[in-house]
C-alpha cells in the first residue's frame, strides 16, 4: 500500500473512533464556548474595539480548545497497548503521524467552524465578508497547530503531567503561526482584501507550516520508534 493510503487509513480510523465516542470533540467544543463566554466579561463585548481584537480572541479560543483534542490524539492509543501495535504494524511512523495530523486537523476545523458563527452572533462581528480567504487562513493556521501539536502529543505521551506539558510546550512554539493567523483574521474580519501586508503574513504562515511539517516528518520516526 502506498504511503498516503496508510495515512488516510489512520486518519479515518481516528475520526471514526472519535465520532463514536465524541469525547475529545465534546470537551473541546464546550471548553471553547465557555472561553468565548468568559471573554465577554473581560471587555465591553458590544464595543467597536471587539473587531480590532477579534482575530486574537478567536485564535486564543482555537489554541485552547485545540490542546484538548491534541492531548487525546496519542493518549487514546495508550490503553490496550494500541500504540505498540500501531508501531509494530507495517504502517510507517511518518504515515501514522500524518494520518493523526489529518484527523486532528478535521476535528479542530469542525470545532472552529462552530465557534465562528457563535462568535459572530455574541460579539456582533460580521465574519462572512471575506469567506474564502478566511477559510484559507483557518486551514493554514489550524494545520500549523495540528502539525506541532500532534508531534508533541506523541512526544509527551509517556510523561507525567502530560495534559499540562503539551500546552506549555506548544504555545510558545506556535507564536509565529498564531501571530500570522491573528493578523490575517483581524484584517479579513474587518473586510480588508487579501493583499499587501496580509499576503506577507499569509506567506509567513505557509512558511511556518512547511518548515514544521518537514521537521516533524523528519523526526517523528525517532520519537515513535526509538
Amino acid at each position: 500500500m502506498s504511503f498516503l493510503r496508510y495515512s488516510w487509513l489512520i486518519a479515518v480510523k481516528d475520526l471514526r473512533a472519535e465520532l463514536r465516542t465524541k469525547e475529545a470533540v465534546n470537551a473541546s467544543l464546550s471548553f471553547a464556548l465557555v472561553i468565548l463566554l468568559l471573554f465577554s466579561f473581560a471587555f465591553d463585548p458590544t464595543g467597536e474595539q471587539t473587531r480590532e481584537i477579534s482575530g486574537g480572541l478567536l485564535w486564543l479560543v482555537f489554541a485552547f480548545a485545540g490542546a484538548l483534542i491534541l492531548n487525546r490524539s496519542f493518549a487514546r492509543e495508550l490503553s490496550n497497548d494500541c500504540l505498540d501495535a500501531l508501531v509494530a504494524s507495517p504502517v510507517p511512523g511518518t504515515a501514522l503521524y500524518l494520518g493523526k495530523c489529518l484527523a486532528n486537523l478535521t476535528l479542530l476545523l469542525a470545532v472552529e467552524l462552530v465557534c465562528l458563527p457563535v462568535f459572530g452572533v455574541f460579539y456582533n462581528v460580521r465574519w462572512t465578508h471575506r469567506f474564502w480567504p478566511l477559510m484559507l487562513v483557518l486551514l493554514l493556521g489550524t494545520w500549523g497547530i495540528a502539525v506541532v501539536g500532534t508531534m508533541f502529543s506523541a512526544l509527551t505521551i509517556n510523561l507525567r503531567l502530560r495534559e499540562l506539558m503539551l500546552p506549555t510546550l506548544v504555545y510558545p512554539l506556535l507564536i509565529p503561526a498564531l501571530m500570522a493567523a491573528i493578523q490575517l483574521t483581524t484584517g479579513l474580519l474587518a473586510g480588508q482584501p487579501l493583499a499587501g501586508d496580509l499576503t506577507n503574513w499569509l506567506k509567513l504562515l505557509a512558511g511556518f507550516d512547511i518548515i514544521f511539517t518537514a521537521l516533524a516528518l523528519g523526526l517523528v520516526e525517532t520519537v515513535l520508534v526509538g
Partner: protein
Amino acid sequence: MRLKLLYAACLIGAWLLLANLAVILLVLPDEAEQGAIYRIIFFHVPAAWSAFLGFLAAAVASVAYLIKRDLRYDAVAVSVTEVGLAFGAVNLVTGMIWGRIIWGIWWTWDARLTSMLVCWLLYAGYLMLRRAVEEPAQRAKVAAVFSIFAFADVPIVWFSIQWWRTQHPQPVMRGSGSMDPAMYKMMFANWAPLLLLFCVLVVIRLRQERIQSEIDALRREAHAR
C-alpha cells in the same frame, strides 16, 4: 588535573573581569545621552551572545545525540541549555534595569525584548520537560527533539515579531547615533571573561551530570541484588 584547569580558568576569568571593570568604571567616560547607566551594556550584550551560543550548542548536541545515541551528548545539551538560560536571564534582567532608568518602564513589548522572552520561555520549557521523564534514554530523546524544534522556532519568532512591531510606532526609541569605538571594543573585550565563566559553569554542570549517572547506575546495581 581537570579540577586545576578549572581553577585556572576561574582565575583568568576573574582577572580579566577585574581588568575590564577597571577600564569600564574608571577609564571610559559617561555616555553623552544616557549617563552612567550605559555601562550595563558591557554585560547585557555579551550575556545575550553567550546565551544564543549556548542554544546553538544545545541544538548541535541534540542532533548529535539523536544520531549517536550517546548520553554524553545529552549531558552536553542540558548543561549548555541551563547555563544559556542563566545568561539569558542576565540579559533580560540587565535590560530591564536599563529600561527602567532610560525609558522609565521595566518592560516594553519591543521586538527584541519579546523574542528574547519567548526564547527564554521555550528553553525553560525544555528543562521542565526533562523533569517529567524518568528514564534517561527516553528523557534524552524527548529533550533532543524539543531542543531542535525550539532552535528552529527562534529565528521565525524573531522575524515575525520584528515584522509585527515595525508596523506599529515604537513606544520608546533607543538613543540614536553610533557607539564610540572604545566602548564598542569593550563590549567584545568583556565577552571574554563572560564566555570563560560560561565554559566553567558548563564543565561543572557536566561533572554533575556524570556523577549523577554514576549514582543512578550504582543505585540500579544495588536494587538488582
